[in-house]
Subunit: 482 residues, 2 copies
């Protein structure tokens, strides 16, 4: 766990000074991840993995509650299968890793290390689906995938990453569209209630959609440096993969039809999103619902603290643990101040300080990581009060992130205004758009901003495209993005 | 889930007639796994994966309760790292898959798709460990691994499989040995109490130990065809990997020393072990603790059962679910007899039949999958009674499997007797052994039996080796094995 002997980075770069370096410092110093000898691949260290496990659990329970089941498909995909869907192979070919030798021999056909599993899943669904009674198929898998990346960044973009990928098959387009949006809602709900990270749900433009999809939807979040981050995607695949992989079924009217597919995923990138949404100059700030430790108990005292304070600290720890709170007790031989800094760096939501005088007064001092407020809390009814405070930290983090995002979301009605607003790192700029790829590309060239998505539920715009003055087709959110 | 349209195998081969074909039929018909277009790789279907998830949960909670934490290391290992430990590379080289191209370019150094992660973990531990305060490191990971196999069999031996692999580092040999045995106990406890599968804990011979280990321990189970199956292994790596990867630490006495390592794993093979331990001619029999559905409710009735019986069946299902029982209700338009056979095939421990007369009598009929006993159970207090019955099925399955194993474990005092006992498929034959690899190899040549392990706690033998008459060094269990 905490390892003070690690050398290298002892302090972290201030967030305001260099956000990018601050991020790397936090990842390293909080022991979330480490570089590996494999180019572009990271090691997820126990503290980082524990955050991912809590995110996984929140997702898994919801994915199952909505009728999906987990399964596991092979890591390797014969190259020829990837080639069956034209747009899909075009999108992924440049990024794939190939296995050419196995068991001491050169393989007859190269195997692709899955960059995503539509090709192998589609092949199996073609075998499994015969009639409409076999539908829908609602399968999810938790897996590793590999996409060769030139520039990598822990959690945000790595050659290998962990994710869940859902793959479903339906009788009708309406059902596949409903599924796609149901999952988008599920992702948004997890991001907002569990990660305390507000997101915008919307549709991607044609140029940004998944290779082979009919329509791609995304959730977009705003990081602490005002850059946008795509936090999850949900694709209505239409019948594209069904046609490529020959997934047909006998319909209720006896005709033979292709299924309608969806696929959707979120990744370990969410850990990076949490760091960049909530962190500050002292390090990580974790929303309580995904904090491996929600509370750290730090005994305060003179040299004899092991005799005078530790027993009470242990009792408090046991009481909180029994109440279902994730709690740790730091009994290392270090100064309290050093411990405070260490656990602040690691983003533990609440610190409980207990010293001889607190014991006398039958109270503890609780320090909130989010507001840095210090509150005296009576020992009596401690667990209940701590749960309330954890709930309050969770809400405060969300409210703060939403206020930050809202403050940095502006509307542009002319292209001049758009370009001016987009200078520096402004956050989101909302504008009407004609729907043409040319305008989208020109905006990117002129401002480095990309079209993040077209939010669901936006009113149909009545005006003109912010760039070309043609009639607007949609409201779109633009931002400089990760 | 259940899909009657699947074609191919409609009945399963009797177990007594052809155990091997029976196994494949059960895997396929119960929709546990399916063949994939990738040679040697299987798809784990939702029903099979749900069993694996329950096994995972049982293991994960125990692995964490014993102080271990989860992490994630890269899938790829640079070839040069694998070569650092001489025995390790010799053992694994013939089985590895190589990635040679990525991102459209040929790689400078080939990457091995991990067959196991000692090499990459060791590299990271060398970075993380400085002094004795950093020890022990107790890390586990849940991952996929790839070992090229010529002959494969779903769950038992596949090119890609899922597992957990623990990797620990300690200050002393005593600690690493204690850790190795603690995990062996943990594995045995999970197999016996959760999988209802008795195992023998013991030490592997030199010729069967893990490539690079000092000592390997295993748990060995006996399958329904009287062949043995290695169900898990725990290795004391000594300082071999520490020396190869330069994992040193400053000890309490200020000297610089190499750490003592362990590694240990169990795999999706355990799903195959469960099938082969408990199944019968009707299909799978699942121990309740790993049954995705512990209870299936089947409404019985005439044409109007949807009106007369279904509401009560739904009420029962809801009541059992609320009591924490994993329950499903089969309301498909099929004959009850067809449903019975389907759920027997899938090994659901208890079937609840509910018909109009049961409703009148305010009872249900419970059919046990293990004994085929049918028991009338009053609606009043149903959940409590079902829990008792599930507990009883769990115990009965274990007792039955242990009796089967004990019946098929014999002792040989002469080589003639040994060879005679080992004819056909006798189960385990216990004998004294001198410890020489030559005798072990000769026994294998003469009888096809391998030395499974030398059970812990066996009395030191006083007699002679069963084959060569030299003084015996150990009691060993031999069997024909998977």
């Amino acid at each position: 766990m905490a390892n003070k002997h690690e050398g290298f980075v002892t302090e972290i770069t201030p967030r305001s000074e260099d956000f990018s370096q601050w991020y790397l410092d936090v990842v390293r110093r909080a022991e979330l991840a480490d570089y590996s000898p494999v180019k572009g691949c990271m090691v997820i260290r126990p503290y980082g993995y524990a955050i991912w496990e809590l995110i996984q659990q929140a997702l898994d329970v919801r994915i199952k509650a909505t009728g999906h089941v987990n399964a596991y498909f092979p890591l390797f995909i014969p190259e020829s299968l990837l080639h069956k869907e034209a747009e899909h192979v075009e999108g992924f070919s440049p990024q794939v890793a190939y296995v050419t030798h196995g068991g001491g021999e050169e393989l007859e056909e190269r195997l692709v290390v899955r960059p995503t599993s539509e090709a192998i899943v589609g092949t199996m669904y073609a075998k499994w689906v015969q009639g409409w009674r076999d539908l829908p198929i609602l399968i999810n898998q938790w897996a590793n995938v590999v996409r060769w990346e030139k520039v990598t960044r822990p959690f945000l973009r790595t050659t290998e990453f962990l994710w869940q990928e859902g793959h479903t098959a339906h009788e009708t387009e309406a059902e596949s569209e409903a599924e796609t949006l149901k999952i988008l809602d599920l992702y948004a709900e997890v991001c907002e209630t569990i990660l305390a990270m507000p997101v915008v749900k919307g549709r991607k433009s044609e140029s940004e959609k998944f290779a082979g999809a009919l329509r791609t939807y995304s959730i977009e979040a705003l990081m602490g440096d005002s850059r946008a981050l795509q936090a999850g995607t949900s694709h209505n695949l239409g019948q594209n993969f069904a046609k490529a992989f020959d997934i047909t079924f006998q319909a209720r009217d006896k005709s033979v039809q292709h299924v309608w597919g969806t696929s959707w995923g979120v990744t370990t990138r969410l850990v990076g999103a949490v760091i960049m949404t909530h962190g500050d100059d002292s390090g990580l700030i974790l929303p309580p619902l995904i904090a491996p430790y929600q509370v750290v108990v730090v005994p305060i005292g003179r040299d004899n603290w092991r005799e005078t304070v530790l027993p009470k600290a242990q009792e408090i720890k046991a009481g909180l643990a029994a109440a279902g709170i994730r709690v740790t007790l730091d009994e290392r031989d270090e100064r309290p101040g050093w411990k405070f800094a260490e656990w602040e760096l690691r983003g533990v939501p609440l610190r409980l300080e207990i010293g001889p005088r607190d014991i006398e007064k039958s109270q503890v001092l609780v320090a909130r990581r989010d507001t840095r407020e210090k509150i005296g809390v009576p020992m009596e009814g401690l667990a209940g009060r701590i749960k309330e405070l954890l709930g309050d930290v969770q809400r405060t983090l969300f409210d703060r992130a939403r206020a930050f995002r809202d403050d940095r979301t502006r509307r542009a009605s002319s292209y001049e205004e758009f370009k001016k607003l987009m200078e520096g790192r402004p956050g989101f700029v909302v504008a009407s758009w004609c729907g043409s790829a040319a305008c989208e590309a020109q905006i990117k060239t002129d401002t480095q901003a990309t079209l993040r998505n077209m939010p669901l539920g936006s009113a149909t715009p009545t005006g003109a495209c912010v760039r070309c003055d043609s009639p607007a087709a949609a409201e779109a959110w633009f931002a400089k993005a990760y």
